[in-house]
């Protein structure tokens, strides 16, 4: 940790962001006008297929028992350890499974047979995002890792939808339009023009010093916890916002039309600038009650294309090796078609991971021929119908916390997942 960052954290600590700080007034004033260094990764992206994806048309193919009308069991394709449904002939755009697994299968870790445990969107989305079903207070993994890893980043936790609770430990940033970042990046200049500062430099420095002094004085007064927290977050937001200037060079000249690509550009520019730790990217309409195959064949390829776009752009920006990708949905689709050619909700599904320090070309867990979850032995990760456990979102989240190195962080401990050690998944990532 360099000096500027350390001093910044001292200021935040005094004003309620939860870091220890024995510093004095002079150091506060100095720290206040210094910028925290860029966050250098890893960068976490959670892709969400909102509405409930049909995993049997992606990474957990069946082709039997009437589960799929577009292919039979014999049509199932294989790439390394992965089995997947053939979609090249059925997609109406986007990226087929064939293309996706050919390009990314070697890096991809698939967990099948995940028990979402519920059949409703709202609790399912909450459970998958936080690892906790019965609490509205828990932060999403993306928010938690942002709070632990990059509390000083101005856009530490970006979200474009899906369940995005923060647990009051980090501010959520919504940047719906790329150009809007340009408009606010140079906040101390008229219309963002470098040549037109509002204040002379000496005046601006004095304003910042006065604000830092005021914050430090407030921090010595007895404040209500809520006020203490709010003042700290406000101060941090304003000071940290200066780092947004680093984003603008990475904003592309042209804005892509695709939904996920638009979100990805904002997230990647923010990662590249070192102002962001994590991002929730999401597209909806997967809730294919009415016409499952048509809807899923439109959306899954769009989703995969968005993921591929993100990874390729990360490569161009030279941050791909720092990217950690989680691909999820809040539920699966039932093994049978309803009267309207749709599929209703199903509490069993999958999740995929890809990125730095994740060994790919692996499939963990399984569903049986009727799309029920097969229990898993957490120590060996082998399917074990007799002695295995049902893998639920808290198992995935516990593993994610371990992976990110935040499982023992005080903020993580504030939101325990309640898993016994014997039930934690061992060796999931390597």
């Amino acid at each position: 940790m360099n000096d500027a960052r350390r001093e910044f954290l001292k200021v935040c600590g005094l004003v309620g962001l939860g870091f220890a700080c024995p510093g004095g007034l002079a150091s506060l004033a100095r720290a206040a006008v210094k910028e925290a260094p860029p966050y250098d990764g890893p960068f976490y992206i959670v892709f969400n297929a909102s509405g409930g994806w049909d995993t049997t048309y992606l990474m957990d193919p069946k082709g039997i028992g009437g589960i799929n009308r577009l292919y039979q069991e014999d049509d199932i394709l294989t790439r390394g350890a992965h089995k997947f449904a053939p979609t090249a002939k059925h997609k109406t755009g986007g990226m087929s499974n064939e293309e996706f697994f050919a390009e990314f299968g070697g890096e991809l870790l698939v967990v099948n047979g995940l028990d979402y445990s519920v059949n409703n969107h709202s609790p399912g989305a909450r459970y998958m995002a936080t690892g906790k079903l019965d609490s509205l207070a828990y932060p999403t993994f993306a928010a938690l890792v942002a709070a632990c890893k990059g509390p000083a980043c101005p856009l530490s936790f970006l979200t474009f939808g899906n369940y995005s609770a923060t647990g009051n430990i980090v501010a959520m940033a919504r940047i719906p339009y790329l150009p809007s970042l340009k408009r606010i990046a140079n906040a101390d200049h008229i219309e963002g023009s470098e040549r037109s500062p509002y204040h002379d430099d000496f005046a601006l420095v004095r304003i910042e010093q006065a604000l830092a002094g005021q914050r430090a004085a407030r921090a010595t007064q007895p404040l209500l916890p809520r006020l203490e927290r709010a003042e700290g977050m406000l101060y941090a937001a304003q000071v940290n916002s200066k780092a947004l200037q680093r984003v603008t060079p990475h904003i592309p000249a042209s804005i892509p039309k695709e939904r996920l690509a638009q979100q990805a550009e904002i997230a990647l520019a923010s990662f590249k600038a070192g102002v962001c730790v994590s991002a929730n990217l999401s597209i909806g309409q997967f809730d294919s009650h009415a016409n499952n195959d048509r809807d899923q064949m439109k959306l899954i390829p769009e989703f995969l294309e968005g993921i591929a776009y993100t990874i390729r752009r990360a490569e161009e920006l030279k941050i791909r090796e720092k990217l950690v990708v989680v691909v999820q949905s809040e539920m699966g689709r039932a093994p049978n078609y309803n009267g309207g050619n749709g599929k209703d909700h199903w509490s069993i599904g999958s999740v995929m991971f890809l990125g730095s320090r994740i060994r790919g070309n692996r499939v963990i867990g399984a569903t049986d021929e009727k799309q029920f979850a097969v229990p898993l032995q957490p120590q060996t990760l082998a399917c074990d119908r007799e002695n295995g456990i049902r893998v639920r979102p808290e198992h995935v989240h516990e593993a994610l916390r371990q992976f990110a190195g935040i499982a023992d962080h005080p903020l993580s401990k504030k939101f325990p997942l309640g898993l016994a050690d014997k039930d934690k998944l061992q060796g999931l990532w390597v």
Binding site: V118, R174, P176, A187, A237, S241, H289, R390
Partner: protein
């Protein structure tokens, strides 16, 4: 402890007589005090297990209503009635705790699913909930004296909840209220009244404030944050007014505008007509709320009103313009709303006609408005369940999806039953509540973009629980007015008043009321529970008064405003004890202003809005679009921090020199000082500057500082330091920068850099918590 009523003893006796038939009864303790309710039951057993788990099914209308263990839902009653319900629940638990089977308590065996239990396993044997039940089983078999003396002493030692909390002084409270509810600063007369009469002056001031249009703008905005009706999709005339029932919905396309000679102007007028018509349609539900509150009508009308609000434009769309036009003051005002009753809908063919005994549309407040029904549409598979869900959330404060408990294998349950929502206890627990209400919306069976009113071909679904409400079936004769029937039941439900009080809290504080903590193993559980209970007690007290005073919503706002929860502002001494900090964690309004509120505050303080927190910038500043983004950001991100800096820079730029260009008596910021007063030039000059700072602190931040206070000194040093730096860097003698000297009423030279230094001071103040939060 209050004595137990005689009927209660009878219940216990009956239970004991029957116990032997079902299992081996423990020998009950029958000594002195056996009739008194153990507080452990209400605080632990009920709060942590019964209310969270058992009562979902074990109640009238629940899946286990036919069992011998039937409880009362205490959330549906208040005061003495709830005490009685709690006592009855205690009795039921006590009976069950005394029954043994195979040497173990049936209560524990049922909870862990070790003997036949419809709800299967509810608690793990190593869970905190199980331990609580196990403790309870032990306690019902020992003399109460064993636990009572210790616990009563513990309660007595607890300090009052607000002990050591400093309340906002009356003057600041007044400013918070007028800014929050009416977007303005208090008047001198209001300040004087508060100075004279303290808190007692507030109700009268609030009564007056609640006649102002700005208050109703805020009220509509606040309730839209909850109901989100402004976010209904599509062009309002297309989506709200169906092709089948409203042939005049596109009236504006043929509206006579030939009197406008210029073609471009005529086209613009036509566009404006359509825009205002659609906006007025979107605004009707919130205008209904305004009408109810403004006219002191019972707030239950939000679910029972037999009218809707229409304007001259929307009346045309509904096809009733000729009928009601005489009631409008100005037929060209697209936003003049009046209450009217629609006739029962007539379709293009008879099958589309609406059934109605009275000949009128069966209005049921918001519930039956086209806007509400379009905002929460249904689908063939959803079957109005989404509408039922939001109904419970909006009008009874119940999140039914919170009821959704995890089951061991939801997929297996789904596959096992033909109709799981009717047959599987795991599903029935929610669907027995949701589906009957979904059935009440059955005659609004048109999907998004296809209209609103319409019956399902072949009748309503039979593989769902039938239409009704909380165990009561909808009488067949009430089918045509099912939503009115629902509204009437809602208005009588004690949860309605509580939910409305919770909405008021949301409007005032920007956040929801606390939920009961669920983590029984949390070492701070007791403190979090106390925080919840204290707030809940306040909520229920306000709700009781709300119901007793004819459901006047203004009283709810007034009661919250004078409550300790709204006025809590600080601590007398630092709260370093983690337990006390946990109790106080949510205390204090401390709300980051929404974009609309920031704009109103800028207007109140400076005389005009900033005008840039709109559209994309508002979204970036944590605003909502009522469609995709429906919750306001509670804390500032770095992007919002940047916007705060832009706002502070820009508003100070526009307003500082402008204020100096006004006559002193007309100035808002600098009435007592001129730019030629230089720091350190004389003691009088410094005193003048300090007085100017005191005024600015009060104007911008609402802070009342002494001239010698550290805060004034800090601002003074900022001002003086900048002037000094300017002299040293030879920047004196220049004018204000170009952008900051636009629109002045008279030229304001800045030879000493003081105008720019004052601008820096205003920038500094605008970036502070006291301006950006309430």
């Amino acid at each position: 402890m209050p004595p137990v009523r005689s009927s209660f003893s009878v219940l216990v006796a009956v239970a004991l007589l029957t116990a032997g038939a079902r299992g081996e009864a423990l020998k009950p303790y029958t000594g002195a005090g056996c009739a008194a309710m153990d507080p452990y039951f209400s605080d632990e057993v009920w709060a942590k297990v019964g209310a969270l788990e058992c009562v979902k099914c074990h109640k009238a209308g629940g899946d286990a209503e036919d069992s011998k263990f039937v409880l009362l839902d205490t959330s549906r009653s208040q005061g003495a009635a709830r005490d009685e319900a709690m006592r009855q629940n205690w009795s039921a638990f006590t009976q069950m705790a005394r029954l043994k089977e195979g040497g173990r308590s049936r209560l524990l065996l049922k909870a862990t699913g070790e003997i036949k239990h419809g709800g299967k396993r509810v608690l793990l044997s190593d869970s905190a909930g199980y331990r609580i039940l196990a403790d309870f089983v032990r306690r019902v078999n020992v003399p109460p004296s064993a636990w009572r003396a210790r616990e009563v002493a513990g309660d007595k030692n607890a300090p009052p909840f607000f002990d050591g909390i400093v309340m906002l002084d009356d003057r600041k409270l007044l400013r918070r209220v007028t800014l929050s509810l009416s977007g303005r600063l208090p008047t001198e007369a209001e300040f004087a009244a508060v100075k004279r009469d303290g808190l007692k002056a507030l109700p009268t001031i609030l009564d007056e404030l609640m006649t102002e249009d700005a208050f109703y703008d805020r009220l509509r905005e606040g309730f839209n944050d909850i109901f989100l009706t402004v976010g209904a999709d599509g062009n309002a005339d297309q989506t709200f007014l169906s092709y089948d029932h409203f042939p005049q919905r596109h009236w504006y396309q043929k509206f006579e505008l030939s009197q406008i000679a210029d073609e471009r102007e005529r086209k613009q007028a036509s566009y404006r007509l359509a825009r205002e018509y659609r906006e007025a349609l979107h605004g009707e539900p919130m205008k209904l709320i305004e009408y109810i509150v403004r006219n002191d009508r019972p707030f239950t009308e939000i679910v029972t009103a037999d009218y809707i609000m229409v304007t001259p434009y929307t009346a045309r769309g509904y096809g009733i313009f000729e009928e009601v036009k005489g009631k409008f003051k100005n037929l060209d005002n697209g936003f003049e709303y009046i209450p009217v009753r629609l006739h029962a809908l007539k379709g293009r063919n008879r099958s589309q006609d609406q059934d109605s005994v009275t000949g009128f549309y069966p209005h049921a407040g918001l519930l039956s408005t086209f806007q509400y029904l379009c905002r929460y549409p249904t689908t063939d598979t959803n079957r109005n369940r989404q509408r039922a869900r939001v109904y419970f959330l909006h009008f009874l404060g119940v999140d039914v999806l919170e009821l959704a408990a995890r089951v061991s294998d939801a997929a297996a349950v789904t596959a096992k039953y033909k109709v799981p929502t009717l047959e599987a206890s795991e599903c029935v627990v929610c669907h027995k509540t949701i589906d009957p209400v979904a059935g009440l919306f059955q005659d609004y069976w048109r999907f998004a973009g296809e209209g609103v009113y319409g019956r399902r071909k072949g009748g309503w679904f039979t593989d769902m629980f039938g239409p009704g409400f909380e165990g009561e079936d909808l009488p067949a004769g009430e089918r045509w007015r099912a939503l009115q029937w629902l509204g009437e039941h809602t208005a009588k439900d004690p949860r309605f008043a509580v939910a409305m009080v919770e909405h008021a809290y949301y409007i005032l504080s920007g956040r929801k009321v606390l939920q009961p903590p669920k983590e029984l193993d949390d070492p701070l559980y007791a403190e979090k529970r106390r925080a919840y209970q204290e707030q809940r007690k306040q909520t229920e007290a306000i709700a009781a008064r709300f119901a007793q005073t004819g459901f006047n919503f203004k009283n709810v706002l007034k009661d919250w405003i004078v409550s300790d929860f709204y006025r809590a502002d600080g601590l007398a001494s630092a709260a370093s004890n983690p337990a006390r900090r946990a109790e106080l964690d949510d205390i204090g309004v401390v709300r980051m202003l929404a974009p609309e509120q920031v704009e109103r505050k800028v207007a109140a303080v400076f005389g005009e809005r900033w005008g840039r927190l709109n559209d994309q910038m508002a979204m970036l500043y944590g605003g909502i679009d009522s469609k995709e983004v429906t919750e306001r950001a509670p804390d500032p991100s770095g992007a919002m921090g940047a916007i705060q800096r832009i706002l502070a820079n820009d508003v100070a730029c526009r307003q500082t020199a402008l204020d100096f260009s006004r006559k002193p008596a007309e100035r808002k910021l600098f009435p007592g000082i001129e730019p030629d007063v230089l720091p350190y030039s004389s003691p009088e000059a410094d005193a003048k500057i300090r007085r100017a700072i005191v005024h600015l602190h009060e104007r911008v931040l609402g802070r009342i500082d002494r001239e010698g206070s550290p805060e004034v000194e800090r601002t003074f040093k900022l001002f003086a330091g900048i002037v000094s730096n300017a002299v040293a860097s030879k920047r004196s003698g220049a004018e204000e920068i170009y952008s900051c000297r636009q629109g002045l009423l008279a030229p304001i030279p800045d030879p000493n850099y003081t105008v720019r230094a004052w601008r820096a001071v205003v920038t500094y103040l605008l970036r502070q918590h006291e301006f950006l939060y309430e």
